[in-house]
Amino acid sequence: MEKFEKLSGVAAPMPLVNIDTDMIIPKVFLKTIKRSGLGVNLFDEMRYDREGNEKSEFVLNKAQYREAKILVAGDNFGCGSSREHAPWAIADFGIKCVISTSFADIFFNNCFKNGILPVVLPEDQVKVLMSDAEKGANSIIEVDLEKQTIASSDGEVFTFDVDPFKKHCLLNGLDDIGLTMEKETDITAYEAKASQLFPWA
């Protein structure tokens, strides 16, 4: 997995609440057996008309947000399905950080497996960053995972919480499976115990 240390870039504002995984990547694109190449279909139904032409009013189609690296979104971002295609599409587009007041649980976990940092901030701070994002291309937001800070283009700095284990994995680009494999003896010991206690399981 790609490391995440610092990120500096334009943030796209999406103030809508309850942006669900069907909006992020409609099911028609879940038929792939690969992880890559979904960025072009990110927010597909909001981004293109039925003929595949870009809708000019959609935020990521505007010149100033086409290279956005950050998304500032409304409450409960990523609700709905467990499809990891949602973070795959976001990362493939080039967005590596999503900021909101809250995230759906499965989506939140999926982000960390794909080098994306989801940041939860209080409403007033998200508002500041949302207005900052609305300023467009001249407004660069800076994210520092090590220090757990986000700086607005005006230099206002907010700190955020992140699970220490997830932070460690993201900073170092670590693969969970490799880490768990190191606990092989614990797993074997558990299985031996469980086969006595719960032989039917």
């Binding site: 028609v28 399905s81 990891e84 794909n114 719960f198 039917w200 399981a201």
Partner: protein
Amino acid sequence: MSTPKTLYDKIWDAHIVHNDSDGTCLLYIDRHLVHEVTSPQAFEGLRMSGRKVRAPEKTIAVPDHNVPTTPNRDNVIDNEESRIQVEALDKNAKDFGVIYYPVSDIRQGIVHIVGPEQGWTLPGMTVVCGDSHTATHGAFGALAHGIGTSEVEHVLATQTLIQKKSKNMKVEITGTLRPGVTAKDITLAVIGETGTAGGTGYVIEYCGQAIRDLSMEGRMTVCNMAIEGGARAGLIAPDEKTYEYCKGRPHSPKGTSWEMALAYWKTLFSDSDAVFDKVVTIKGEDIAPLVTWGTSPEDVLPITAAIPDPESFSGGKIEAVRRSLEYMGLEAGQKLSEIEIDTVFIGSCTNGRIEDLRAASEILKGKKIKDGMRAMVVPGSGLVRLQAEEEGIAEIFREAGFEWRLAGCSMCLAMNPDQLAEGERCASTSNRNFEGRQGYRGRTHLVSPAMAAAAAITGKLTDVREIIQ
């Protein structure tokens, strides 16, 4: 005295493989359910790193999302991408030696219906699947939740999951339900009360007389939509009904093993003095037949209500409601019972079990669907279909004018040929009314099976209580 525990605490504690000082746990997974959409990249990951499936005997795969539900589907899936995904699962199941129910198997169906039906899902287990509606299995007092594809690969390789514990939430439904009110209405009522983010960070335990009174099928419906309330999982403590359901299933324990399991299952309840971080109580008598009007499951009201004014909401929800009313082609003040529909879908992991089909057929008996209505019923598994045919239910549906389909996810998510056309409006027993969920620019109203049947007859969203009388 030991610390009082909730049901969730007990299942969690029984599955800890390793506990890190920061609270990160490695949790053992008893059952891993797999379908064709969220698994190909995970199996590919195993191949690339030369890893095996650690416990193929605990890994159960079944294609459901992509499969057509029309007859003679065994050999041909027209859509090439769908066919490739199903073929990939065929190959992965074979190569890695996991338990498999292919499209041609009578036991095939929606993974969350097949698991319990075959006795794979049992009380006290941890159950995961790359699918958010894994919450369904919580009805057995199993800790069950959806995971992403990276986690699917992690479970395949290690039979464990890296987890942090959620908080405990109790949702109590007291008293008894009124006639015409079902498990679907309970679960929609809870989401209406807490909102789609109300359960975020929690595992919900549903309890109370109205929950106890539900059949296992009804309990699965309630837990199925715990995810729509944002919760990691929904749980219901096992009781006699649970044991009765599990007994004699192909993969449930037998003989002394059954006795041992039963003794353990009887310890699976929240201690009377256990502490919950959040408690929600709803009176069963207060729940009416419900219907969603917007594009989020929290946009739910009794069938007797009218479409709300966007201005009556606050914050970002005002804009979201404006957007959803425009999408749904509805206006504030419009009565829900006057909304005309053109499609009815009965099925899905929420409402595709035998009891759901019975409830809908009760309403349809001796009646016809409205002229021009497209109505389909899609049993949740081949065995549900068979049972419904034996009980004469299939005939009632056919007589009424419903299409009687083969098992699959069907129109719940439109990854297969069953889809809404642009602008079509559907009374659906599924679980999500998101934009485009049932087809590009299709419009979804979530309802119970009985309400869906009522709507099929009248051609509009209908209070099922008027038909029962």
